[in-house]
Amino acid sequence: MTLATPYLWVFFPILMAVLSGIFHKRELLSILLASLSSFALALLAAFFPEDLTLEIGPLVLEFNETMTILGRQLSVVYEIFPFIALIYGMTGLWALSSGFPNTPVTFRPISLVITALFTAAMGVEPFLYAALLIQTAVLASIPILSQPGKLSDKGVLRFLTLETLAMPLILLAGWLLSGVETLPTESPLIPQISVVLGLGFAIWLCVFPFHSWVPMVSRHSAPNVFAYLMFIAPTTILVFSLNFIDRYAFLRSLPNLEQTLRFFGTWMIVFGGLWAAFQDNLKRVFGFLVLLETGVSLLAISSFQNGGLNWMMMLIPARALGFWLVGFALTALENRNGELDLDAIKGVARRYPFLSSGVLIGLLSIAGLPLLASFPIKSILLSTTFAASTMLGTWSFIGNIGLFLSTLRILAAMITPDEEHLSEKWKIMEKPLEYVPILILTVILIILGLFPHVFLEWITATLTTFTQLQ
């Protein structure tokens, strides 16, 4: 029996999403359907045989990497399986922890659909059609960002507007690029393509000045929903963007490509880090953290000729787990405490020490604190940037310091009791379902930080699909 891999990683999750949606009122069943199917797909991608043949007893299933839809091809190739395993594994983890009252019930089915659409976007041919699949994923994300019972906030509308603007730009760039695998350096097409493509990706990745919706959306949406979206969307778009550098030699050899990417990367780190330091709301800090991380990824891509893509890929699992931890702890804390302003969280560490630690450890791990997951990669990345440009390296360092300062402000607020609770003693008010995941994740983040090459390097196998970037 012969099947195509897209059936497994694109159509099957959509079917499971429909089932999970049908049973959305039976919370446990809905969670199990979404998370178990995601974990199963992640495990399958991680351990799929290279000859694409599955033998289950007498049943032999042979898989093709490609299927044809309406004259175009949809592929999920073996080389990209490590990345597929990661995104489905993380989707499962987010679905598993989606039982909080402040998380929309539609989050589980919609997150599965979004992951399936992003998987399809990675493998559609011509690959520029991915823009339409990404736009569909954006549309699907609206109900989980803008929840019923709340007034439509401007951030979500701005998000929708900007993402919709990016789609025509990428499709137009695709048309300009069609049939021109190579171009002479003096071709007038090169500046046209560079501007259209650059603008499209800048909007998609919320690069300044297209960032304004990020903190607005983070402020008003459930933190775990925001964490999921801000992991899956920029990460997949960044990996998708490598297609362009891989396929078009003239883009790889653009004279100022590395400097431009490095400049914007540094700018995003400084902007995200310094603004995070002055925020008075934890959810908005998370928003600026996302901007900072986009900057780190751009910085890594800017060194693509010196192994930067490996660092970008190795940062993805570390960032995913960090985002999950911050999202989980903030959602639980919001559920317990209500508001997440610095004034409102005074002394919460005395009542919810594990949730508070979860927020802080997650933030510090993403910021690159020694011993935690992102540190080994970020230290190499900052050193490389420093070697390439002392000024940009210094600014990147300052931006990261901003995030540390923000974390210190949050720590100070969490451990300082307000006047009403001055005599309150330290106690544990969390349930095991709240603190056990935080403890497990903390241990995992430390292990990743201690042995990055053992536990993070596997994902770099994804880069073998980009043959020109080896």
Binding site: L132, G149, L157, P168, L171, L172, W175, P188, W275
Partner: protein, 204 residues
């Protein structure tokens, strides 16, 4: 055929101006429906009628979904606006029309040499007016109508550049998805009962 296309282009300019100037959902829904008809005529210059009509059907479906939701959810009272705001939006629309007329020939010559100038002008007109609209309001149903107009403008140009069934299908999904998002926003806002004051915040 040329005069028919010219008439379609003029209709596009008028409907885009109407959507930009007026805030009444009834006027905007009718203008959007007529705009889709004119866009269909321009798409038909590049595609056979059997495929081009998909754009019209999808556009009308999107307009109907938004129109019916507005009819159910929004106040039937006439909204009065000051003459100065109408005048300002009209003036900004005229400015955009002038910009498009100046830019379109050069853009057609340098970027889209294979396309008819009328197609480039029609597509850019919708795109530009929608951008202007997006910049001047944040009312959910107007944002969605502007985004539908913007996509319609893009589709007029895209139709001349590439013919693909999958692309047409995916764009239809995106258009209908946008309309559904519009319906979601309109319904949600109509059912919203304020518990606390919402803060107007700056992004930074």
């Amino acid at each position: 055929m040329q005069s028919f296309s010219l008439a379609a282009f003029i209709v596009i300019v008028i409907t885009a101006m109407v959507i930009l100037i007026f805030r009444d959902w009834r006027i905007n829904a009718i203008a959007l429906a007529i705009q889709y008809l004119a866009a269909f005529v321009l798409v038909n210059l590049s595609w056979p009628i059997t495929i081009a009509i998909i754009k019209l059907i999808v556009g009308w479906m999107a307009t109907t979904a938004i129109g019916l939701t507005c009819l159910r959810q929004m106040s039937t009272e006439q909204t009065t606006e000051s003459t100065s705001s109408l005048f300002f939006r009209g003036l900004s629309g005229v400015l955009m029309i002038l910009i498009i007329f100046v830019l379109a020939p050069e853009l057609q010559e340098k970027v889209f040499p294979s396309l008819d100038l009328l197609i480039v002008q029609g597509g850019l007109m919708l795109f530009g007016m929608a951008l202007m609209q997006l910049g001047t309001n944040s009312e959910p149903y107007l944002v969605i109508i502007s985004l539908l107009s913007l996509l319609s403008g893009f589709e007029i140009i895209q139709a001349g550049l590439e013919r693909s069934t999958l692309l047409t299908g995916l764009l239809a999904i995106v258009n209908l998805g946008l309309a559904l998002v519009g319906v979601y926003f309109i319904t949600k806002n109509a059912e919203y009962e304020p518990e606390a004051t919402t803060d107007e915040e700056s992004p930074q």
